[in-house]
Amino acid sequence: MRILVGVKRVVDYAVKVRVKPDKSGVVTEGVQHSMNPFDEIALEEAVKLKEKKLATEVVAFSLGGPKSAEILRTALAKGADKAVHVQVSEAEAAKVEPLHVAQALQKLLEKDKFDLVFVGKQAIDDDASQTAPLLAGLLDWPQALYASKVEEGGAGFLKVTREIDGGLDTVKVKLPAVLSADLRLNEPRYATLPNIMKAKKKPLQNIPIKDLGVEIKSQTSILEVSEPPQREAGGFVEDVPALVNKLKEKGFVKN
């Protein structure tokens, strides 16, 4: 089984994002970036499948500007065997939508055979959660999204557990398939110093997006990005009756 894992370069989760003065988006210049944490989980699971001999090769994929190469190096340091960088310009990178990523993946999969595409359930920047289902739709492959457990499911199948409201949903999915990783699937490993050194020597292939015939044409337009409204300071009341009175006054409680 060959696995293609999608890894996206996003603003680091620890960064407090700021909205640009012109409200066109958030400030990304001079801000720490790292691999989307859900993609890290997908990658970890793929590497584990390889360690269990269920997979033969793990290839990391990223679509993005020049700096996405760093994220792919990280993926290589964390156990991917190869990496593919579908390159777009910095200007295009700001306009990339899930559909473009799904289309690029579709084109790659036409050229190179994979049995499984594994991505994070969402990226922490746009929270779109669309790449996996869009890709499954384009390819007409089965999908198993929000995986919290991935097991062997017999020849040509995987057994995938998903956390749903009120319990667990177990899906038997036929390969080739598209999977997305949920938070509790695993705890990703840290890249070790020896593996960081080795990553430098692993192959990283660059493919300009135009070679795949995918055009970064916006499906949506951003009207405005604004800071969440400031929460107003609360007040203190003496006791419960005073609280109830206050709530009635404000019209939160009916008489």
Binding site: A14, E29, G30, V31, Q32, H33, S34, G65, P66, K67, S68, A69, E70, R73, T74, A77, H85, Q87, S89, E90, Y190, A191, T192, L193, P194, I196, M197, A199, K200, K201, P203, L204, Q205, N206
Partner: protein, 448 residues
């Protein structure tokens, strides 16, 4: 070995394309600090296609200069370390400081698995076989640990107790002591100072007398970091009967679970509170003669060389906490209102912080220059002494001035600034005191 990017013609060209008039080295040093956390280097290598990625963005800000000392692997190492420190170390520091101890074996194992003790150690014994720049990158990032004790303890293992063993030790000795130290399975300590001989290393009194195939150690060692938890010590002792005090000592690997080794109670200190510092006593401790590192009688000279590494990582590990002191103080002063304006509106505060930032940047540059010289095979004892003196003095100045800005809030025991104030004070004392550094500098001046 690392290919240092500064020596590649391609880089210079790229660099000249952005700005001209100054050398690559001088300019990168000037900007390295402020963007250290934020900038991402472009690749200098053509062998793996990353250069293509970098060149496609010629019009963008991706063309920032290379780091004077680090390539993208150093930075990737720092990023992974930062993550581990944030996840596994820093959340526990407050408890460890309160308890006056941290679980060295557990922490060493966690970080040893990642490879932090391996940087410039031989591959044959589990090391990475890289050059000293990687050790410096690791030390610098260990400075993001929220106290002085834990990074000091880790650096004792990587760059204070093991360099001589790695360079001069026999295969058997390295297999027994170096390999498990690199993997983090054991904890090491360095035992040179004595109650009567700290700065004056040649005056140590501990002896190692031959008895058949064994050495019998007697004496006492003071200020032993990791001493309570350590499994073995790299001990400097008088092993040769002659009056040449520079050629009668040997560095010896001593298992601390041996009979006759006694450890004092944990010493209580001004700072470095979760570090276990003890006094060691050797009372007829028997170790095989083959535990001598390298040539017998050359221990003093080996130790002097080992001190250089110790001092350089000491400078490196101090940079991050000092930067944090300055940055945190700037932010505090910006928010703190007084007499109708903010503290940061006061020119006195503005200039004070600017002065500290300049000095820190100069110290960082001196460190990088020293490491580059060391990588070029130069004798760096003079530059090392200068950098070590500077960082010790600067640590006192930065923490004192910043604490003053914080006022009462900084005087609180649990504030970060107070912890830095008490922990970093040791940098003027440990790894060779300020006065030893001054005397080294003076000796070099007289020679010229």
């Amino acid at each position: 070995m690392f290919q240092r990017s500064r020596s590649k013609p391609g880089d210079i060209k790229k660099w000249k394309a952005t700005k001209s008039g100054q050398t690559n080295r001088a300019k990168t040093a000037a900007v390295s600090c402020f963007f250290l956390r934020h900038w991402h280097p472009t690749s200098s290598d053509n062998d793996d296609g990353m250069a293509a990625a970098a060149t496609t963005s010629r019009s963008t800000k991706a063309l920032r200069p290379h780091h004077i000392l680090y390539d993208e692997r150093h930075l990737a190492v720092q990023q992974t370390l930062r993550k581990i420190i944030d996840d596994k170390i820093n959340p526990q520091v407050r408890d460890w400081e309160r308890d006056g101890i941290f679980p060295a074996h557990q922490v060493f194992k966690t970080l040893g698995r990642v490879g932090i003790f391996a940087a410039n150690k031989p591959q044959k014994y589990g090391g990475l076989g890289k050059d000293f720049s990687l050790s410096i990158a690791v030390a610098e990032e260990l400075g993001s640990i929220a106290c002085g004790s834990v990074p000091m303890s880790l650096l004792v293992q990587s760059d204070m107790a093991t360099p001589a063993l790695a360079e001069y030790g026999s295969d058997e000795l390295r297999e027994t002591f170096l390999r498990p130290s690199i993997s983090g399975d054991v904890v090491a300590c360095i035992a040179v100072s004595e109650p009567h001989a700290g700065s004056d290393v040649s005056a140590i009194r501990t002896t190692a007398r031959r008895s058949g195939g064994d050495l019998i150690l007697n004496g006492t060692k003071m200020w032993i970091t990791n001493g309570e938890q350590a499994d073995w010590a790299c001990v400097l002792a008088n092993s040769v009967d002659n009056s040449d005090i520079h050629h009668n000592k040997s560095l010896i690997c001593v298992p601390l679970h041996s009979e006759g080794v006694h450890r004092s109670r944990r010493l209580e200190k001004l700072g470095m509170r979760c570090s276990d510092t003890v006094q060691l006593f050797f009372d007829d401790v028997r170790v095989p003669v083959k535990n001598i590192i390298g040539r017998e009688g050359y221990g003093f000279l080996q130790q002097m060389k080992q001190f250089n590494d110790e001092r350089l990582v000491t400078v490196a590990v101090a940079l991050a906490p000092l930067q944090k002191c300055i940055s945190d103080t700037l932010n505090y002063a910006r928010d703190r209102r007084i007499f109708g304006s903010t503290l940061l509106d006061q020119q006195y505060i503005q200039y004070g912080l600017a002065e500290l930032q300049i000095e820190l940047e100069a110290t960082r540059s001196l460190l990088y220059r020293t490491v580059l010289a060391r990588l070029d095979g130069e004798d760096v004892s003079l530059l090392t002494a200068m950098a070590k003196l500077k960082v010790g003095r600067l640590a006192r100045k930065v923490t004192d001035r910043c604490l003053q800005v914080w006022g009462g809030a900084g005087y609180l025991d649990e504030s970060h600034i107070a912890r830095c104030f008490r922990d970093l004070r040791v940098f003027s004392i440990g790894a060779g005191s300020d006065e030893v550094m001054l005397s080294i500098v003076h000796k070099h001046m007289r020679r010229c």
